[in-house]
């Protein structure tokens, strides 16, 4: 790890301003940043520690929705009774991520800034080419070991998978990111790699995530996060789905449906085609399975990750059907 100076922010404004200086970065839970610094990827001159700031870890819930402070830890949000009760997919996405220790450290704001697990991105000394790290240097993953790489949202410049769980649930339910006074949909906060995979988030120097806001809906109240992986726990998703379901009074017709995919795309992936195909339709297993195939429309594999194209629709279908079974 390169050496750096360490500052404790005294206020959110001071933190934003200091972090805007060249070479400076915000430090919250550190579970991504310290890891990446050890990998030689993050090379800050100054770290601005914001974990001691007061008031940024609040969880406020009313009938309109939930506002979760950027410094609330993953574990506190996951275990929050009202999050569990009224936003189950959020809680489930959180407790199935990482480990209990990491969830105690990692903050919600930091979680949104989590970076890819692409092994080529993470090993600069062995793999010089990475457009995410060094724009224009190429992509080592294409043509390499791709079992964990994205099949959706890829570009010729980058196929790195977005590994997070929480943001997948957030995009399903139209959550927004608070950057101080600026609000932006989580779906828009994450950027496709395109020709600029180094630019991952719609956040500008001098901005800091202060909260996320999840609007209430019938769909989020009846929601789940289904995560499939090789190992039962402490692993990133092979494919995951955040699903929320609202039925008409008949208990069979789909009024509202939210679907987002994790583990398969370069960003948290909203699957509106699946939603649109099923809204207004009867909740029937065959129809759900057929519509779920739309989740991977346009998917492109790179060999070893082909299974994700098969797997993702099955995860979506299972999650929708599971929600249909809950009364």
């Amino acid at each position: 790890m390169r050496d750096f100076s360490y500052l404790r922010a005294t206020s959110a404004d001071a933190a934003r301003q200091t972090a805007a200086l060249p070479g400076a970065m915000l430090l919250a839970g550190g579970t991504t940043l310290i890891d990446l610094a050890k990998c030689g990827i993050a090379e800050p001159d100054t770290l601005v520690d914001i974990t001691h700031l007061e008031g940024l870890d609040r969880i406020e819930i009313d009938e309109r929705g939930a506002i979760i402070g950027a410094l609330a830890t993953m574990s506190h949000v996951a275990d929050h009774a009202d999050i569990k009760g009224r936003f189950p997919a959020i809680s489930e996405a959180l407790w199935q991520a990482a480990s209990a220790q990491i969830r105690n450290m990692a903050t919600i704001g930091g979680n949104l800034m989590q970076r890819t697990r692409c092994p080529y991105f993470r090993d600069p000394s062995n793999f010089a080419a990475c457009n995410k790290r060094e724009p224009g240097s190429g992509c080592s993953a294409i043509g390499g070991v791709t079992r964990g790489h994205a099949v959706l949202g890829t570009s010729e410049a980058c196929i790195a998978m977005y590994p997070g769980d929480l943001a997948t649930a957030l995009v399903a339910f139209d959550a927004t990111v608070h950057l101080g006074d600026r609000r932006i949909l989580v779906d828009d906060f994450f950027l496709l790699p395109g020709t600029t995979p180094d630019k991952e988030h719609a956040i500008e120097p001098g901005e800091m995530i202060t909260a996320i806001e999840i609007p209430s809906s019938a769909a989020v109240r009846r929601s789940t996060y289904l995560k499939v992986r090789d190992r039962q726990s402490y692993e990133f998703a092979a494919a995951s789905a955040a699903v929320g379901l609202e039925l008409e009074a008949d208990g069979r017709t789909i009024r509202d449906l939210r679907v987002a995919l994790g583990g398969v795309a370069t960003k948290p992936w909203r699957a509106r085609a699946v939603e649109d195909a099923l809204k207004g339709k009867m909740l029937e297993p065959e129809a759900v399975r057929a519509a779920s195939l739309l989740a991977v429309e346009g998917a492109v594999d790179h060999g070893a990750n082909h299974y994700k194209i098969e797997l993702a629709p099955r995860v979506v279908a299972r999650a929708i059907l599971k929600m249909g079974e809950t009364a």
Partner: protein, 769 residues
């Protein structure tokens, strides 16, 4: 040296079986446990030394070629840097002998490479005042290369068929002809990938020179073997090298030999005149030494319609490195598990650009069992016979290869006990016939075996003035329970409580010990301690009877009884004296005895060879018997039909390790082997980037080992009986046995669940959806 001085309540000490918890065979809790659960146990690299400097390795980023230049200027100028070692600046060492003790070629040895034969080879090292400074400076070392094409792995077109290993050939009858004429024929190929030991404690060491004396604190499965290598590298007498390894944070075969990183650290310490600590990063542990070699086998079985085997033809290949030789004996289980009149097994090794593979829990037997135990399952379905029944029909009543009687083989008993407990009789034979919602349920069985590796051992036992007993050996405890079973052995033999025994291990100044590998340590060391303790006891009783100052002197007894630390006459008449009081009365402050199991006429040279090489290990088929441990695994899997994910939901294993010195600890080791087998079956695989010849999942987030959530309750049943042909006290091997057969048991269960036969490990979801 380790003294466990934390006392725990009686209820925590363990419960009795034969002879009480303290005796051999008792369920005594780990005597080193209190030190481990309080954080007091200091592992090798945790010594606090004055003036300690920190070394960090720089590794090659190509798999084949030459180092053109190393630019270390920036690193040398970095804060705190004391030295940058490169092939040009490191001191020259001598080549050491191999583990057979083969005299080495007379040429220098450089642990930093100019000629690169694998990605991750050590090319330089940076030593600095602090760990952080060394890490930062190591990243500044710039190495340029002239790269040449590499051979990635066994499937590389350039790899070829490899080199035949004639010593692996086992043949009897006419296997090809018998196969050709057999009415039922099975032929399939089975592959296992590179797998890694991944002990939780990374490899590393602290090296310190005082004149021409070297002390190395290093986690080690073999202090005397490693001391020999260090001594030969640095051309100092063997006695000048002291290895210290009080606790070992897991080895699984990977910590038995002195490796190049050790040579780098000891060189740095010598060059700087300061103690140096070098610990591999987790990533470096995937390339700094070898894991299990990738293997390929074809197994053909010819049988009749009743499932009786008429012929087995087996061909195996394992990878080795460009300039090293590793043979993973793939025919080891194939040749002994089932009775067959005709047999042929041959093996090649193929050179690839990898670090030389090494020993990992049951090398040979493990992949071998994956082949034969999968193949016989395939035969069972082919002829329509229950997989358990077909194993019993082909039961080998004697060693089919050595043509000798088994010393003991409780495998039939293992099948019976395991099947009964598992409920095997309730299994429906058809694949895909058991289901629970989205889950397909499968039940599988497979057998495992591991040879009893025997060697000679040595130990010192002292009876001290306070009546306590001290055991010393340079053998080690990496979790098998050596501290505990040797305390039990000494306690029972001398006649004291295990609480009054202090076992000192892990220092090469103590009585010598051979390698702790191949599941041999417990049998060897309990035998040696039993001998030394018996000798100490004889001395004690001799003093009590013969010394005129002894209260027993007037008794004119032939012998005396020592129990619970007290000495009495056999008939109960006469004095009742504590050991401490007896020693005091005869004016002795200690009794000391060295015991070994070496042949009586052994020379000093024999002893050196015995403890520092494996050349004197006794063949498991020596004499009239063939000696092995045996086991039968019964496994239930749940396969998500849509997702292809496999979870092991139930395991019942019945195992024959002979007599258990401490069932509580043996059960733990068995379960550990079973769990590593679950990882092998479902998760573990070193994945190579074919363009770079480099393992890309070189970390614990991507090289998946099982988590707690992956492991169900596991039931183990001991079916062993004492086997005095195998060891002094009747035990056979424990540590490696239980992993053998687990992967095929799971693969067989997956077939039963899904109808899909997976012959390439690991069984990941994309192979099933």
């Amino acid at each position: 040296m380790t003294v466990h001085d934390i006392r725990v309540g009686e209820s925590k000490r363990g419960d009795a079986s034969d002879g009480g918890a303290d005796a051999v065979g008792g369920r005594l809790s780990r005597v080193d446990g209190p030190a481990k659960i309080t954080g007091a146990a200091k592992y090798a690299v945790e010594q606090q030394l004055e003036g300690l400097a920190y070394a960090v390795l720089v590794e090659s980023t190509i798999a084949s070629g030459k180092v053109r230049a190393i630019d270390s200027k920036a690193a040398e100028a970095a804060p705190g840097v004391l030295k940058v070692l490169t092939p040009d600046t490191i001191i020259s060492l001598k080549t050491a002998s191999d583990w057979f003790g083969t005299p080495p070629p007379d040429r220098p040895y450089c642990p930093l490479a100019r000629d690169i034969t694998f990605s991750g080879q050590h090319v330089a090292a940076v030593v600095a005042e602090t760990f952080e400074q060394a890490v930062a400076a190591a990243a500044m070392v710039k190495v340029s290369y002239d790269e040449t094409p590499s051979i990635v792995d066994l499937s590389d077109g350039k790899a070829g068929d490899g080199i035949p290993v004639d010593a692996m050939t086992k043949e009897w009858g006419d296997a090809q002809a018998a196969f050709a004429s057999a009415p039922v024929r099975i032929c399939a190929a089975y592959n296992t990938p590179r797998e890694y030991q991944a002990p939780m404690e990374p490899h590393g060491l602290i090296a310190r020179w005082e004149g021409d004396h070297l002390t190395v604190w290093e986690p080690s499965q073999w202090l005397d073997g490693m001391a020999r290598t260090y001594a030969e590298w640095f051309a100092v007498p063997f006695e000048n090298v002291r290895l210290v390894s009080p606790y070992v944070g897991g080895g699984f075969g990977s910590k038995a030999l002195a490796l190049s990183h050790g040579a780098v650290a000891a060189s740095a310490a010598k060059m700087l005149g300061r103690p140096v600590r070098l610990v591999m990063t987790r990533a470096q542990t995937f390339t700094g030494y070898g894991g299990r070699a990738a293997t390929r086998q074809t197994v053909t079985i010819g049988a009749d319609h009743d499932g009786l085997i008429q012929s087995i033809v087996h061909r195996g290949v394992n990878e080795t490195s460009i300039d090293g030789m590793w043979v993973e004996p793939l025919g080891s289980v194939t040749s002994i598990m089932y009775a067959t009149p005709n047999f042929s097994s041959r093996q090649n090794v193929v050179r690839v650009n990898s670090v030389v593979p090494g020993a990992m829990r049951a090398p040979g037997e493990n992949p071998s069992a994956f082949g034969i135990e999968s193949a016989i399952d395939e035969l069972a379905y082919e002829v329509g016979i229950d997989p358990l029944e077909i194993r019993l029909r082909n039961y080998a009543e004697q060693d089919p290869h050595a043509k000798k009687a088994w010393s003991t083989r409780q495998l039939r008993e293992a099948f019976a006990a395991g099947a009964e407990r598992f409920g095997w009789a309730r299994r429906t034979p058809e694949p895909r016939s058991m289901r629970d919602g989205n889950y397909l349920i499968g039940w599988g069985v497979a057998a495992g075996t591991y040879p009893v590796r025997r060697a000679y051992g040595e130990a010192v036992v002292r009876i001290l003035a306070d009546g306590s007993v001290e055991v010393e050996s340079s053998s080690i405890d990496m979790g098998q329970g050596t501290y505990t079973i040797l305390a039990q052995t000494a306690a029972e033999t001398v006649g004291v409580s295990a609480d009054d025994v202090v076992v000192k291990l892990g220092d090469s100044r103590f009585a010598r010990a051979g390698v702790s590998g191949g599941s041999r340590l417990a049998g060897v060391m309990t035998g040696a301690v039993y001998k030394a303790a018996s000798s100490a006891l004889d001395q004690l009783i001799g003093l009590a009877i013969g010394d005129p100052r002894s209260p027993f002197h007037a008794l004119q007894a032939n012998t005396l009884v020592v129990a619970n630390g007290r000495i009495t006459a056999p008939r109960g008449d006469g004095p009742d004296v504590s050991i401490a009081d007896l020693l005091k009365s005869v004016g002795r402050d200690r009794i000391e005895a060295t015991g070994d199991t070496m042949p009586a006429n052994s020379t000093a040279e024999d002893r050196y060879k015995n403890y520092t090489t494996i050349a004197m290990a006794l063949p498991h088929t020596e004499g009239d018997y063939s000696r092995h441990s045996w086991c039968a695994h019964f496994v239930e899997v749940r396969v998500d039909e849509d997702f292809g994910t496999v979870r092991v939901s139930r395991v019942v294993s019945a195992l024959d390790s002979g007599r258990l010195y401490n069932p509580k600890l043996a059960e733990s080791q068995w379960k550990g082997g079973i769990i590593m087998g679950i990882g092998q079956a479902l998760l573990e695989e070193g994945i190579v980037d074919r363009r770079h010849g480099r393992i890309v999942n070189n970390n614990l987030a991507d090289y998946l080992v099982p988590t707690n959530a992956d492991i169900p309750d596991i039931e183990v049943i001991s079916v062993g009986i004492p086997d005095l042909h195998s060891s002094v006290l009747g035990g056979k091997g424990v540590g490696e046995l239980a992993i053998v057969g687990m992967a095929p048991a799971i693969a067989n269960a997956v077939f039963h669940a899904t109808g899909k036969r997976i012959r390439d490990l690991p069984i990941t979801l994309e192979k099933l959806i």
